[in-house]
Amino acid sequence: MNGHAILYTGVTLAFWSTILIVGICYTIFDLGFRFDVAWFLTETSPFMWANLGIGLAISLSVVGAAWGIYITGSSIIGGGVKAPRIKTKNLVRYVSVTQRIKIYRILVKVFSNSFSGTTPETIGARNYQAGYSMFGAGLTVGFSNLFCGICVGIVGSGAALADAQNPSLFVKILIVEIFGSAIGLFGVIVAILQTSKVKMGD
């Protein structure tokens, strides 16, 4: 077993055994009533959820874009040794991927107000909805951009190499890339829908 496998099995074992032992103790001492998911969801601040959503949106989109560029880039660099004409054409497409990070503008619009309550009653249901929706929207756009980026990257890598072999293939392969980009676009649209009616404030 290499080092990675040992580390991951160790961490997994520790995690599950902690959960198991804590659960057993709670059950034995009839303290199961203390495990309260509703308490967790109402006591944790909507601000945390909203900010986690924004953070995940940006970071996962960037991961996707970076991963895609890394895959295509390595192919372009390799292919460009023998066919230098391929480099400019293939890098243009990555501008569109990073556009999707514009979702942050929409999120900031929702988030520009803040509430002043401290207990669940004074915070109000609308603020909780805002927090959870922004978390969900962030996850949506983040993950869809992540996979879109990977997809476009792999396809682009193949396109670059095909283009290096035969310049007429480039346009046809571009169509496949457009399908890949559409995934990211779906994610953005759904996230906008999630945060459309959402407003934080008193």
């Binding site: 308490w39 944790t44 945390m48 986690l52 230098p84």
Partner: protein
């Protein structure tokens, strides 16, 4: 064989008896050593057992035959204070003979025949002087080395010469130096008397002991181990409401502070004794009404029912009412004060102004200044089956606070992302699929 065993037992018994007698005589321990030496030979004295304190009678019994024969000149060196400890401390007994402060005394004891009473029972400062006076029939004459040389001693009568020696005080001289000076005086006196050719009996003792160690055979304090921590104060009992003979509602609080505008400061209702009339108990609801002599009325209403999602009975403290002078303030507590019906509820701080568990029921502005602050509050309204003990206390404080949970969640998420990235980077490899070390190296075109 049997006889020797009986003898041995008898000897053991007598030894134990003597030992206990010896122990019992140790009680009053003011003692002074007494040294006697003489130019003539002194009768021998059986050396006393260790720890034995000789009494005046013993000294008198010893000295009587000595003084009975002929006329004697007794030199009494009376140091203001003397104890055995002075002799051991300053006598050079720890191998440092040269530091001894009693060189002349030692020389005198060695050269003449001497007898010592290591511990003479001390009763009063003038006991020895009086004893000698009585035995000799002569009154003491104060002397010192200078006057002694001019004094002529009449050897046809008993003479008692008293030489007073000081003891260490807070003077400039150190104790050792002072005792050394005393020793010098002793030596001078002895030499003066010797040059006169007068036979003498010399006694060196103290007027009172310099150190008294109080011992007591009976222990005055309780012998045995006890806990060092302070005794815990008695805990006051809880307020118990009985219905049909059995306890039904129990309440305990360290403080039940209330503050009503118009009165200054906090009133601690827990310090007063309440009247429980008006309290009621039923399987589904309990009410505890506390009427205090100060006019405050505090009532707690609890209810219990079955909740299908968690499939158990829960009770909650629905309302807390404070009534004073005809005005009633009502607070809702059901949001935060609840517990399974089998358990009691306990919270360190139940108040209506900070992290409030009690929320005002009405919007009457004049009542918004009223303050309730219950400290170390525990209440149980149902399931009191085991007498006057509270059931398990479900505490209002959870193991992890919401803030801790939020921090843990975010931190774990970051950790996960970081580990993911780390794993990816660590498994990057350089591609070696097309490596051909033996083939021709690739040519890079210089132009597009």
């Amino acid at each position: 064989m049997a006889e020797s065993r009986i003898h041995a037992r008898g000897r053991l018994f007598s030894f134990i008896l003597l030992f206990s007698v010896g122990l019992s005589s140790v009680n009053s321990t003011a003692q002074v050593p007494l040294l006697i030496w003489s130019t003539d030979s002194l009768p021998p004295l059986a050396s006393p057992s260790a720890g034995h304190i000789s009494s005046d009678q013993e000294l008198a019994a010893y000295l009587r035959p000595v003084f009975a024969s002929g006329r004697h000149t007794v030199l009494l060196f009376l140091q203001e204070k003397l104890s055995k400890d002075d002799l051991t401390r300053y006598g050079g007994v720890f191998g440092n003979k040269q530091d001894s402060a009693f060189k002349n005394l030692e020389a005198a004891l060695r050269s003449s025949s001497s007898v010592t009473f290591p511990a003479l029972e001390w009763r009063s400062p003038s006991a020895v002087t009086a004893l000698l006076e009585a035995e000799l029939g002569a009154s003491p004459v104060l002397a010192d080395p200078d006057t002694l040389s001019h004094l002529s001693i009449d050897t046809s009568v008993n003479n008692l010469l008293l030489i007073n020696l000081p003891y260490c005080s807070d003077s400039l001289k150190s104790c050792k130096e002072l005792l050394h000076d005393n020793d010098e005086v002793l030596g001078k006196v002895l030499s003066v008397v010797q040059t006169k050719g007068v036979p003498y009996i010399s006694i060196f003792t103290g007027q009172q002991p310099s150190r008294v160690i109080s011992e007591s055979a009976v222990p005055q304090e309780k012998v045995g181990r006890s806990l060092l921590q302070a005794v815990a104060a008695d805990v006051k009992p809880p307020i118990v409401f009985n219905s049909t003979g059995n306890p039904c509602i129990m309440l305990w609080a360290q403080n039940l502070n209330v503050s009503i505008p118009g009165t200054t400061g906090w009133t601690d209702l827990a310090a007063q004794t309440p009247n429980l009339t008006g309290s009621a108990c039923s399987p589904s609801s309990s009410q505890l009404v506390l009427r205090y002599p100060s006019g405050h009325v505090l009532s707690f209403s609890m209810s219990q029912r079955f909740y299908p999602v968690s499939a158990r009975n829960w009770f909650s403290l629905d309302t807390v009412e404070l009534q004073m002078g005809g005005v009633t303030a009502s607070y809702v507590g059901s949001r935060g004060i609840y517990a399974p019906a089998e358990y009691s509820f306990r919270c360190q701080s139940v108040n209506n102004f900070q992290d409030a568990l009690l929320v005002m029921n009405s919007t009457n502005q004049s009542l918004s200044q009223w303050r309730l602050n219950f400290i170390d509050f525990q209440i149980q309204g149902f399931s009191l089956n085991n007498g006057t003990n509270f059931s398990y206390a479900s505490d209002c404080a959870s193991f992890f606070t919401p803030a801790i949970w939020m921090g843990l969640l975010t931190a774990l998420l970051f950790l996960l992302i970081f580990l993911y990235g780390l794993h990816m980077i660590m498994q990057l490899n350089t591609m070696d699929r097309f490596d051909d070390p033996k083939g021709p190296s690739i040519s890079v075109p210089q132009s597009e």
